[in-house]
């Protein structure tokens, strides 16, 4: 119950702050929340949203998957092998420092106005964050449980499935959360340069045409989709994965 109250209070505070700011700025620059929500709904009703949302979601999905796969592989190698760790660390650390926009522009120059540009840019942004998180998760694997598994002559596959994966679940979930957030940002930034479609493209187009109300409407739709993914997918997965942590830890995760 406390969680719901806190969330509701946070939402109320958010809208109160927005209303306060909107009362200061001209309405053309910053509409009131109710106007922005109404404009967003109009976009949804008109059907304009769906092709652009689909394009963004497709790029985001493949970029997220690619970044996670590459990052997990590198993170596991860095966690289990000293040589791999020393070899990969400089590359990962360098990649962490490169701004999203740089990858967006580079990908656009290489792939042109193609969906590959936001996908590749997203992979390049996401993988180092995932690698570092997974690396630390692998290092924290409980060696006692591995030894116990070996003492009962269990197969490597069984140990991976029943010990290694659940043991690294917290870091995998953190990594995927981070990856998702990075993916949204990178895809929308790259769509500004490299696309004739997508949410990022539409927000920037509205800005270029000085249609700020439309820009806000597209942004509100985008925010709504992020919240649906967070509360519709991530939270249930998190609840299921951490079902065994019934008390303090689970509260902290919430």
């Amino acid at each position: 119950m406390d969680g719901w109250i806190a969330r509701a209070f946070g939402i109320v505070l958010f809208f109160a702050a927005w209303t306060a700011l909107a009362s200061v700025f001209p309405e053309e620059l910053m509409p009131y929340p109710q106007q922005a929500l109404a404009n967003a709904w109009a976009l949804v009703e008109s059907g304009q949203v769906w092709p652009h949302l689909a394009a963004t979601m497709a790029a985001m999905f493949w970029g997220f998957i690619g970044g996670m796969l590459l990052g997990i592989q590198m993170g596991v190698l860095m966690g289990i092998d000293d040589y791999q760790r020393k070899f990969l660390t400089p590359h990962v650390m360098l990649s962490l420092s490169i701004p999203h926009i740089s990858w967006g522009i580079t990908a656009t120059l290489v792939f042109g106005f193609d969906i590959l540009a936001p996908i590749v840019a997203t992979i390049l942004v996401v993988f180092p964050f995932v690698a570092v998180t997974v690396w630390k998760g692998v290092e924290d694997i409980d060696g006692d449980l591995v030894e116990m598994s070996k003492s009962f002559d269990l197969s490597f596959y069984r140990m991976i499935r029943r010990v290694i994966l659940p043991n690294t679940a917290p870091s995998l979930l953190s990594a995927s959360r981070l990856a998702l957030a990075m993916s949204w940002k990178t895809v929308t930034i790259t769509e500004v340069f490299a696309a004739g479609t997508g949410m990022g493209y539409k927000i920037f187009s509205a800005y270029e045409l000085i249609e700020f109300e439309a820009a806000w409407a597209w942004a509100v739709v985008f925010m709504a989709v992020i919240l649906i993914v967070e509360y519709g997918i991530f939270k249930p997965v998190q609840r299921k994965v951490f079902e065994y942590r019934q008390d303090a830890d689970f509260t902290m995760l919430n």
Partner: protein, 263 residues
């Protein structure tokens, strides 16, 4: 159904209480190269442990107790020598059960799932089997709980149930009660003796506690200075009373033997 109603015996588990194994340690040595130099943990150990006996291994910290147990269990390789197991004259298909100092249960699995985990490709495994072994260690009311929902002593019982559930001929126990409070440890010792009497397994039990060793075992081996320097049969009848004259006398004898390593 109360815990008393669900008391499970070895017979009801379908366990052949006659199957216990020999442990033969032959010419065993273990050496390590460390930053401080070359270290000899023990050399030329020869031990024979009879089937169905409860044998404890004692020694001071750093004497190599856990190293010896890890070699016997197969986790570590010896430098020289070998360990053989034998059941009814055959060295094939001897099953070892392990109970560790910490319970080493999977926190993301229920107690039943923790038992199931060690039964990979076991056609005879059923949920009923897991429940039976949890009943044996008096965890009947906790089948579907997670380890975070039970106490440290209860987790250690899960570890014991897990080891017994694979029907080992030999049970290897590495200071399983050392991390528990004395009341819980005493309860578990009593329970372990009950289970051992029912199931008649060979038990090789590492401990640093002489009183615990006398309470539990038929035979005490003392490890130190690179070898077994004392091998004592425990002549006391069971059940053993720790306040009896015989117990205290034997304890003193064991202490004298234990301290003789310093001379």
């Amino acid at each position: 159904m109360s815990q008393q109603d669900r008391k499970v015996s070895g017979a009801s588990l379908g366990v052949d209480s006659g199957r216990a194994g020999w442990i033969h340690v032959e010419g065993l040595s273990k050496e390590f190269d460390t930053q401080q130099g070359h270290e000899v943990v023990f050399e030329d150990l020869n031990i024979d442990i009879e089937p169905g006996t409860f044998v404890t291994l004692l020694g001071k910290s750093g004497s190599g107790k856990s190293t010896l147990l890890n070699i016997i269990s197969g986790v570590l390789e010896p430098t020289t020598g070998q360990v053989r197991f034998e059941v009814d004259g055959s060295e094939e298909d001897v099953t070892l059960g392990h109970v560790f100092q910490s319970p080493r249960v999977l926190p993301w699995n229920t107690l039943v799932q923790n038992i199931e985990y060690v039964h990979e490709n076991d056609p005879d495994y059923t949920r009923d089997l897991a429940e039976d072994y949890l009943d044996l260690v008096e965890l009947s009311e906790h089948y579907d709980k997670y380890p975070t929902q039970i106490s440290g002593g209860q987790k250690q019982r899960v570890g014991i149930a897990r080891a017994l559930s694979i029907d080992p001929e030999i049970l290897l126990m590495d200071e399983p009660f050392s991390a528990l409070d004395e009341i819980t440890a005493e309860e578990l010792r009593s329970q372990l003796l009950e289970i051992w009497k029912q199931l008649n397994k060979t038990v090789f039990f590492v401990t640093h506690d002489i009183t615990e060793a006398i309470e539990l075992s038929d035979r005490m081996l003392m490890l130190g200075d690179g070898g077994i320097y004392a091998d004592l049969e425990v002549p006391l009848d069971r059940p053993r009373r720790m306040d009896s004259d015989e117990f205290l006398k034997f304890r003193q004898k064991a202490l004298d033997a234990f301290h003789s390593i310093d001379e």
